[in-house]
Point group: C2
Amino acid sequence: MFDSADLEHRMDKAQYQTEEPLLRRALLDAQYALASRPGFPVLIIIGGVDGAGKGETVNLLNEWMDPRHIHTHAFSEPTGEEAERPPMWRYWRVLPPKGNIGIFFGSWYTAPLLRRVLGDDGQDALDSHVAAILRHERMLVDEGVLLIKFWFHLSKDQQRKRLKALESDPKTRWRVTPDEWRRFRKYDRFRAVSADVVRQTSTAGAPWIVVPGADHRYRSITAGRILLEALQARLAHVPEVHTEAPAPLPQLENVKLLRDLDLGKKLGKRRYERRLEKLQGELNLLSRAKRFRHRALAVVFEGSDAAGKGSTIRRVTAALDARFFRVIPIAAPSEEERAHPYLWRFWRHLPPHGRVTLFDRSWYGRVLVERVEGFCAQPDWMRAYSEINDFEDQIAASGTVLSKFWLQISPEEQLRRFKEREDIAHKRFKITADDWRNRERRDAYEAAVADMVDRTSSRSAPWTLVEAEDKNYGRIKVLQTLVDQLDAAL
Amino acid sequence: MFDSADLEHRMDKAQYQTEEPLLRRALLDAQYALASRPGFPVLIIIGGVDGAGKGETVNLLNEWMDPRHIHTHAFSEPTGEEAERPPMWRYWRVLPPKGNIGIFFGSWYTAPLLRRVLGDDGQDALDSHVAAILRHERMLVDEGVLLIKFWFHLSKDQQRKRLKALESDPKTRWRVTPDEWRRFRKYDRFRAVSADVVRQTSTAGAPWIVVPGADHRYRSITAGRILLEALQARLAHVPEVHTEAPAPLPQLENVKLLRDLDLGKKLGKRRYERRLEKLQGELNLLSRAKRFRHRALAVVFEGSDAAGKGSTIRRVTAALDARFFRVIPIAAPSEEERAHPYLWRFWRHLPPHGRVTLFDRSWYGRVLVERVEGFCAQPDWMRAYSEINDFEDQIAASGTVLSKFWLQISPEEQLRRFKEREDIAHKRFKITADDWRNRERRDAYEAAVADMVDRTSSRSAPWTLVEAEDKNYGRIKVLQTLVDQLDAAL
C-alpha cells in the first residue's frame, strides 16, 4: 500500500512557485461554487504518521481557501458529553452541512488503529471496526457527502530524519515529545496495521489517497490537486434525478404479521388502572436504579395515524421524572437538518447516561412514509434498512436500551377516531388532510411496516407489535414491555 | 416576601377533582395554540426550598400538558464543555425556541444564592449577580420570551415535617439524604437571602410567583392556574407592529471619530512582508503558549463592504493552527436561529479554552445594518447596546480575550474595489446589488458606527478603528493589536 510512497518524491521551488498560485485560485473558485450553490458537504479525513505533514497540510488548506467555509475538528480524548454516547456521536455532531468543508484531524480510524498497534485489541476487534467503518462511509457517500481521505506517509528512515530535524530547530522543538519517539519505535507495527486498514477501506466511493510526506512542496501541491480534482468532478456532476414513480412494491407474505394481530384484545377499566399504576411504579423504580446511571433508554413509537402514540407516550412519561426524559416529536426536518445526512437529526438526540429519550415517530420515516409517498428514491430507502441496523447496533453497543413499538389499529377504528377528533375542539389540530389521504394507502403502508419489522428486528433492538385497538390494552402492553426490557438489561 | 405563603393554604379533594380536569384541558389547549402558531417561547424557572414540591410540579406539568413540546432541564454541576464558557452559556444552549415550553429546574439563581448562603460570597458579589440577572431577564423578556418564575415555599416547621414524612415512607426515603438535613439547618439563612433575591428580581416583566408548597393539591392547582393565565394573556395579546420608519437618526458629533481617521496611512510591500511574518510568528507563539490553554480568544471584524474583512481574517488565521480556530461568517439567521433570542446564535459559537473564534460580522449587525435599514424597531436596537455590553462583559469575565475591529475605507476606495470585484471572475460572488445600495446610505452607516464605538468600547473589550484604505497598513494594524492585546492578557 505504501510502496510507491516510500520512494523519493520531490518538487523544486520553481515548479512550486508556478503551480501554487494557480492551484490556490482554482481551489478558491471551486470552494465558492460549492458555497454559493450548496449541493453537498465535503469531508476531508486526515490520517498518517507523525511528522508527515498532517498539521501543515490542514493549515495550508485553511490558508489557501476561505476559512469561513471550512471547519477543522481535531479529535483527542472524548469530552464527558461525548463519552456518554456511542463512539460515532462526536463525529456526527460536527459533520459539515451542505456547502461546507469539514476537515477531521483524527477520525474514526484513530482509536481502532492505535488499539491494535498497542495490542489492546486483537485482529477480530479491528476487523469488526473496519467493517463498521466501511458501512459508515458507504452511508455518508450514499447520502451525498464528498469524502476525501488523505494518508500522509513517511518511510521509517524519513520519519527518523524528520523528527530529528524538528527537534534540532528551536522553533519546532516543542512538537517532538517522548511520545513521538515512543510511537516511532512502533513504526514497523504501525505501518503493517495501517497498511491493512488503508487497503481494506479504500473503496470506490471513498478511496484513501496516500501522500508521500517528506517533501513539503510535493506533498502540498499533491494534496491540493487531489482535493481540487475531487471538488471539480463533483461540482460538474449532475446527479441523477429520480423522477419516475417508485416501482410497485412486491406484496410479500409478511403482511400476515400485521393481519394476524388479534385486535380484539381488551382490558377492562378496573384492571387497566390497577396494572397501569403498578407498571408505572416499576418503571419509575427502574429509571431511578443505580444500575441505570451508566445506561440510557431510547424508545421509538411508530404507528398509523390516530393509533394512540401520543397518549401512550404520556402514560410512559407520567412514570418518569421530568428532569430525566425528553420527548422528540419527529416532523418535517428543519433547514439545518436537511443540510445533513438523513440520520444526523436522530443522532443529535441520543440520550446521555441515566436519561430517557422517547421518539414520537423516528428514523423509520424513511422506510415508511418516505417510501410509500415516494419522497425518497427506491435505492435510498432500500439502503436505509442496513443503515438503520448499523445505527441501532451502535446505540445498543453503547449500553443504551432501545425499545421499538408499532401500534396497530383497524381501518374502522381509525375512521372512528378521526371523526371523534374532528368533533373535539382540542383534538382538532391533530387531524389534517394528510391523515385522510394516508388512509387510502393502507395496503402500501402495511407492506412497508411488515418489511420494516422483518428487516430491522434484531436481538438488541426488537420490534414489539402492539394491538392498540383497545387503548387500555395497548398502553399496558407498551409499559409491560418496557419494564421487562429494562429489567432484563439492568 | 414569604409571609403570606407561610400561612396554611389547603384545597380539599373534591375541589381538586373538579378543578383539575378543567385546568388540564385548558392548559393543553393553550399549549397547542402556542405550538401551532409559534410566536414566542415560554421559559418556566423553578426555585424554592427542598421538599416544597418543585420536582412534583415539574412532573405534573409534563403530565398535564403534551410532553412533546416541553423540554425540562435540570442543572447540576456544569459539564466540561460548559465549564469552559461563561456561566450563562449552559442556559443559552438549551433556551426553548418559539412555540416551545422550557422548564429550568435550577437556574442562574441557584449558584449565587447558595454561595451567599454558605458564605462563599459576600453581599457585594450577590448584589452584582442580582444586577446581572435582572439585565439578563430583561433582555429575554424584551426578546419576546414569556418568563414565568415559580418559587416553592415551605415554612421551617412545614419543611421539617415534610422531610420527616418523606423519610418515613419507604418509597420516598431515598429522597432525603444527609444533604437535605444539612441544608435544613441553614433554613433561616437560606430564607433570608432568598427573600431578598426574590424581592429584588420580581420585575414587571418577570415577577416571581411564590407558591405555598405544603399542600400538594393547592400547590398544583395554583401553579397550573398561574401558568394558564400567563399563557392565555400572552396568546391573546397582539404585539405592536412597528411599521413606521425609524425616527431620523440624530447626527452626533461623534462621526468625527471616523472622519478624523488618517486614511492616507500606508505601508510599503517590503516592510509589510517583514512585519507580517514577524507578527504572525508572534501570534502563533502566543496561541500555543501554556498560559493560553485556560483562556480563549474571540475576535470581531466589522467594516463597510469591501473594507477587507475577509482578507484580513485570512492573514490572522494563517498564523494559527487550523485545529484551534473557527471562522464564523454571520449572514441572515437560519430558521432555528430566528426562533431564539437575538444573541443566541452568537452564544453558541463562543470558543472553549485554548481556542480562537473569528466572527466575520457579528452581533453588532443589530446596531449597524438592522438599525440603518430599519430591519428592527428603534427600541430594539436602542436596548441592544447594553445587552451587547452585558454579553461581552461575560465573555471577558470568563477569561476570553475579546478584540473588536472596525475597518474603515473611503467611499472612493470602496467604489474602486467594487469595480475591481466585478471585473475579477472569482471575486464576483462578493458583490451584490445590496452592496451598491448600502453605499448610498453611507452617512447613516457612519452615524451608526460612531454610536456603536462610543457605546460599546469598554476596558475589557475596546474597539480598534483600523485605517484600511491601504490593505497592508490595515492588516498589520490588526495583527499588531491582536498580539498586543493577547500578550497583555496572558
